[in-house]
Structures are given as C-alpha cells and as structure tokens.
C-alpha cells in the first residue's frame, strides 16, 4: 500500500511514518555554518582567522614568486641566474642532479644502481604489504636481496669493482639508511630482551650499553668511528670508513629501538609471561610466539619513529667526510659558480627528505590500523 507523496504534500496529510525528510532549518548546516563554527566562533577566533589568511597570502605571494614564478631553471652559474630572473636559481639543482643521486659512482656503471634501486622496492614490497602477489615466494627474494645488492653496488665477480670512497648522494643515504634499519631491528630486540631478562648480569650489560649510547650524541660516536676505532683493532687490521660508520649508526639506533621495544614489553601484562611458562614453552619459544608479537605491535609507532630518526641522522656522516645527498649539495656550494645559493641547494635536499620520511610515517599509520586487532574506542 503506497501513498502518493505528491498528493500527500498537496493535501498536507501523511500516514504515520511516511512524511519525507525535510531540509535542515536554515543556518544550521552548509559551508556558511561550518565557517561560522570553525572560523568566526568568537572575537579571538575571528582575529586568528584573519591573521592566518594574511599569513597564507604573504607566503603564497612572496615564497611562490621566489620559488616558481621568478625562478630560473636553465643557467650555467649563479651570475647566469641573476641575469635572467630575481627568484630561486634552480639551475644549481639541475646541473648537479646526477651527482646528488649517484655521487661519484662511475657513469658507465650507474645502471647497476638503478637496477638495485628498482630491486629494493621488489624486495621491500612483500615485507611491507601482505597483499603483495606471490608473497611467500617473493620473501625468499627479499632474503637474498642484501647479498645481491652488495654484489651490484661493490662489484666483483664479473662486475667492475667500485671503491666505497666514490659512493655519495642519495645512493649513500639509502645504503646507510637501509643497512642501519635492517640490522638495528634484530639487535634492538636482543638488547631489549636482555634489559628485560631475569639474569642480573645480562640486564646490567645491556642497560649499560643502552644508556651509554643514548647518553652521547651520534656525532661523537661517528668521530670515535673515524678517529679512534682503528686503535682498538689488532695492528694491521683496517676497516673501511663506510663500514665503520655503518656499524656505529646501527649500534646507535639499536639502543634507541631497544628502549622503544622495552616499552612494549613492559606494557604486556605479567600473565602473558606466566601463561607462556605454564604452557611449558622454552624462553625463546615464549618470546617468539607469545611475547614479541604483542610487544612489537604495541611499539610500532615508536619503532618507525626511530627509523625515521635514523634515516634523518644519516646526514651527519657529512661531518666526517662522507658525502651523502646533503654533503654533495653542500660541497657544490664551494664551487665558485654556485657560491651563495645555499637556500636552493638545501631546499632541494629538504624536499627529498620530506618525501621519504613522510612516506615512512604514513606507512606506520597504515600498519597501526592494520594490526589493530583489539577493541577500538
């Protein structure tokens, strides 16, 4: 039984429950209302809105002009830029782009880095996303990737060997970042378990190590790596500087990771440990099957933050003479042709770091949502 709504509207008579929804009263919804609620709700709020709009206007007009409209892209030196326009001189980036990516890697061999970079994503895909096609089999590739990568980058066995002193730019940043991240996580887990263990000696050793590393700045540790570490090796044994730096960066972020993971361990109720014991699981079984999956899940945001911190800290190696992407751009400023273009060089580097770090933090959010198996409040 249906009532014709049109006739009902005309007559003004409705059967119970058949009245069509009316529009909301005027002024309670829509953009005008939203603006009144969010931008002009009080005097102070209105002032804040006006100030903010003015700031946006200033930024767009001034920075926009400098960054884009008055900027120069094609020139061969700073003077060349200044002759053409008053804005930013992006020519410094254009001219040094390849160097900022590959460092001093021989040009004929750069295809190896490109290939390695593509393979990095193929290897990362199955680790990061569980909907990756043929994930199980691809994970074996991820395991093999580090060795493949070392072979591709360093050469040997049929490829032209390349000295680590020629490494630089984005490639060096990625090498330090990826190596640091992949080695510091297992080490950090071990340190956290050590600090949380029942054995007093183990606890003391791990605590001392963690607190020592966390108490000194990374740059001091890098100085130790570059000046002092060779004294501690047997006479005649020498480490490559890059290797020493990799070790230090890994140890550094492992100590921070250990603290993050310890937070996760502490957040577990004691009953979980006791239940694992009651099930008759051995220490490592209990950790692997019961404790760590829960503890790591809780500490994901902290772990990714530490990784982002490590990735940003790779810039510090420029102080001990390794030229990462920031170091390369800094060194181009010493070139008389590009002298005094610090803003352009550094902004370009900043955009590079922003993109990679922002992507990492978004991934952490995605992972948090995916692993959120508890009750959401």
């Amino acid at each position: 039984m249906t009532i014709n709504t049109d006739t009902a509207l005309e007559t003004g008579k409705f059967a119970p429950g058949t009245h069509p929804s009316l529009p909301p009263p005027p002024g309670t919804s829509g953009p005008a209302r939203w603006m009144k609620d969010n931008l002009f709700s009080s005097v102070s709020n209105t002032i804040l809105t006006i100030v903010s709009v003015y700031v946006i206007y200033l930024v767009i007009s001034k920075a926009g002009a400098w960054l884009f409209w008055d900027a120069v892209v094609n020139a061969d030196s700073r003077e060349g830029c200044r002759a053409v326009g008053t804005g930013a001189c992006w020519a410094i980036v254009v001219a040094n782009f390849n160097k900022s990516i590959y460092g001093f890697y021989p040009e004929a061999e750069r295809w190896r880095l490109n290939l390695d970079f593509i393979l990095l994503f193929v290897a990362l895909g199955p680790i990061l996303f569980d909907k990756f096609p043929a994930r199980k089999n691809m994970l074996w590739f991820s395991v093999a990737y580090p060795f493949l990568s070392i072979w591709l980058i360093l050469g040997g066995w049929g490829l032209e060997p390349v000295d680590t002193a020629l490494f630089g730019g984005v490639m060096l940043t990625l090498i330090i970042g990826v190596t640091g991240i992949s080695f510091s996580l297992p080490l950090g887990i071990l340190l956290a378990l050590g600090r949380y263990s029942n054995l007093p000696v183990m606890r003391m050793v791990c605590t001392m190590f963690i607190e020592f590393i966390r108490g000194v700045p990374l740059i001091a540790l890098l100085f130790v790596a570059s000046t002092m570490l060779n004294y501690f090796l047997p006479p005649g044994v020498e480490f490559d500087l890059l290797l020493r730096v990799l070790i230090m960066v890994t140890l550094f972020s492992a100590a921070y990771l250990a603290e993050v993971i310890r937070g996760g361990l502490q957040s577990l109720p004691k009953g979980q440990f006791e239940a694992a014991d009651a099930m008759g699981l051995k220490y490592w079984q209990a950790m692997r099957l019961i404790v760590l999956p829960q503890a790591l899940k809780v500490s994901i945001p902290g772990i990714v933050n530490t990784f982002i911190g490590l990735y940003k800290d790779t810039t510090l190696v420029l102080i001990i003479g390794l030229l990462d992407v920031l170091g390369i751009m800094k060194s181009t400023l010493a070139n008389p042709a590009w002298n005094g273009l610090a803003e352009e060089a550094y902004l370009y580097t900043a955009v590079f770091f922003f993109i990679s770090c922002f992507a990492m933090s978004r991934y952490s959010l995605y992972l948090e949502n995916k692993l959120h198996t508890g009750h959401k409040r």
Binding site: N45, L48, T49, L199, A350, F354, S361
Partner: protein, 398 residues
C-alpha cells in the same frame, strides 16, 4: 618414570645435568657473558696499548695545559689563542650549555604555543601549524641548521648597512648585536636579593599550602611570589643606584663596534634547534592535552569552576603527567643535537676539544674520552632533574 629420567641424566654426564637445570643454566650463561665481555675488553685495551706504543703516543692529559693556538669567535669568558686547551674546552662547554639552555627555553615556548594553536577550534590556523610541523619534523636537523645559516649569511645585510632596531639591536650577516650589560660594583647585592626572593617565595608557598590544608584559607601565593622574586631585586637595584649599564653597539665604518654580538653560527644553531625541537614538543603537548578525558572538563564545569581555573587546576596538571616524560627526552635530544654545531663552525664541546684541539695535538683517545664523558654527564644531569620533577607531579595513588 623417575628412574628413566635419572638414568638419561646420568648418561648425559654432570655438565649436561647442570645445563638442564634452570637455575644453574642461568648462572652458567651469566658466567659465560662476563667471560666474553672481559675477554673483549682485554682484547681492545691490549690492541689500543700496542697501537699507541707503536706510534709512540702515551695516554695522558698533559696536553690540556699547552697553549691552544686557535681562536674562538663566540666566547662567553675571556679567551685568546694563547690560552690552554683546558680553557678552550671550558669555553666549549659553556657554548654548548648556552645554546642548550637558550634552545630549551625557546623550543618550550614555541612548542607549547604551536601545540595550543594545533588544538584550537580555528580550522585554518590549526592546518597551517600542522603543515609547518609535518614539514619541519620530516627534515633532518642538520639541514635546518645549514639552511638557516645560509639564509643568515646570504640574505642579511653587511654590517655597513645593518638593520637598525631602535639604535639598540643591530642585525647583520656578522651577527645579531644586543646591548652589552656592564656590571657595576654593587650589582652582586641585586643578585643576592633575587635568590633571597626565590627562597622566600618557596617558603611562603609552602606555608600557604599548610595553611590551606589546615584551615581551607587561601593566600595570594602568585602575587606574593612575584613580589618577592621580581620586586625585591628591583628595589635593591634602585636603592644601590642602578649599578648596571647597557652598552649598545654603534655603527662604525666597516663593522659594528661594542655591544654583545650573537654570531651567525650561534643564531642559526639556536633557531634551527629550537624550531626543530618545538615541532616535536607541539605534538607532545597536543597529545598530552587530548589524553585528558573530556569528562574531566565537564566535571569541573559541573563543580562550578570557571574556564581558567578548569584549565589550570584540572586539565594542565593531568596533561603534564603525560607530557613530562617525552618532553624530557626532547630536551636531551636538543642538548645532544647541539653537537651539530661543528657543521657551521660554532665552537661547542665537539668543536673545541673534539675538533680543533684533537687535530692540533693528535690525541684522539684523550679528546674523545673527554667528549664522551662530558656528554654522558650532561645527559645524566638533565634526565635526573627531569625525573625528580616527574616524580613530584606523579599521580599519588592510594
């Protein structure tokens, strides 16, 4: 069953039996750990000794008394190139402390300000601050330092046409010149008055709390403390005849004369560290305030407390409990990040004793030991102060 178990244990020998027992196994593992640790330490100490002996270097701190032979542009105390390495190190420590303290102050102010705007109902303002925070946090701090240093050196004018702010402050690419305080003879009385004021204020607020606990009577603690801490020194200052003069810089033909210059290195380091850390603090403050249940605000309104008191007496004390521990680690981070000073040539601990002194004397071991010990003790001091404060404001559970 037990006989079977016993017999297998006997077959395995006594060592295996020890290993199967949980307690004895943990003892064995610990003994092995200690043995490996000591063997490792002995190994590297032995290596270091042989290596040092081979190149004819000892391990002594005598070089600290020799003349340093280098200059430091930003020096809070008297220092010239004939001063000892010891004094250079001291200048470095003061410079690190200076940038850390100023940085912590500015970062806290900026961070709380940004965190509050981030929470404000104003959509545009909160989005602007969000964008700034995301951009700044995702870019390395070293990059910030270099970028700001580049702007200070390239964009600001030469001292000849320094930006003149009311003839007291001068801004140029050689630094920010602020008036130099020249202290008179009787100024120490003002300082004594200041500390007496602080002690008096602490005593007064303690007594006021006791009074309130006993009788419910409230005393004007804020005004009384302000009067004691600020008023008392001002009165003493005026009575002793204002023994403090501010000498502003004057514009010479080539350079600015007099005044207290804050060098571009210091400024870029200070600003970069403060802005970078402030963005982290802003997020901590936002999370802390959001962590307080809205029911607390409603309950406080229901009790009849006005908005301001709700914020001061109910929200902020609870938010602080969440804010303090991560804030503590941000302060530590700022202090440790100040070691990046070396990238712009600001002479802090790493720049002096870990940098130029190390290169001139070639004493890597001693210099790096000093640097590590200094930073370790600084971190320990800051974190123990913050822990003490944290304990004070902690929730007292019955």
């Amino acid at each position: 069953m037990s006989t079977v178990a016993l017999s297998t244990d006997d077959q395995g020998g006594s060592l295996l039996r020890l290993w199967r027992n949980k307690e004895s196994r943990s003892v064995i593992i610990q003994i092995i750990t200690i043995a490996i640790l000591f063997a490792f330490l002995a190994f590297i100490v032995n290596n270091a000794a042989t290596n040092l002996e081979k190149i004819g270097k000892g391990y002594s701190f005598d070089f600290l008394d020799e003349a340093a032979n280098y200059d430091i542009s930003q020096r809070p105390i008297e220092y010239d190139s004939q001063s000892s390495h010891w004094r250079a190190m001291f200048v470095g420590i003061l410079n690190t402390l200076m940038v850390a303290v100023f940085g912590i102050v500015l970062a806290t102010i900026l961070g709380f300000f940004m965190g509050v705007i981030r929470l404000s109902p104003n959509w545009i303002a909160s989005r602007i601050v969000y964008c700034v925070i995301e951009f700044v946090r995702n870019v390395p701090v070293l990059l910030h330092i270099l970028l700001i240093h580049g702007i200070v050196v390239n964009v600001l004018p030469h001292p000849k046409n320094a930006i003149n702010i009311a003839d007291t402050f001068f801004l140029s690419n050689r630094g920010f010149y602020i008036p130099d305080p020249v202290v008179g003879d009787l100024f120490f009385l003002t300082i004594i008055a200041f500390f007496t004021g602080i002690a008096g204020a602490v005593y007064y607020s303690k007594r006021a709390k006791k009074l309130q606990d006993a009788t419910g009577q409230q005393s004007p603690v804020l005004y009384a403390s302000l009067g004691l801490i600020l008023g008392l020194p001002i009165i003493v200052f005026l009575v002793t005849g204002m023994p403090l003069e501010w000498v502003a810089a004057t514009q010479g033909t080539f350079n600015l004369k007099g005044g207290l210059p804050l060098r571009p290195e210091f400024m870029s380091l200070w600003l970069a560290l403060s802005i970078y850390t402030a963005c982290f603090i802003a997020e901590i403050v936002r999370a802390g305030i959001q962590a307080v249940n809205y029911g607390q605000t409603e309950a406080s309104y229901a009790l009849g407390l006005p908005r301001g008191r709700t914020m001061n007496l109910v929200i902020i004390p609870q938010a602080l409990r969440v804010i303090i521990p991560p804030l503590n680690s941000q302060y530590l981070n700022l202090t440790k990040n100040s070691s990046l000073a070396i990238a712009v040539g600001y002479m802090d601990i790493v720049g002096t004793i870990g940098g130029v002194s190390l290169n001139q004397t070639g004493r890597e071991m001693e210099c790096m030991t000093i640097v590590l010990v200094l930073y370790l003790s600084m971190s320990l001091i800051i974190s123990s102060i913050m822990n003490w404060y944290n304990k004070r404001i902690k929730l007292v559970e019955r």
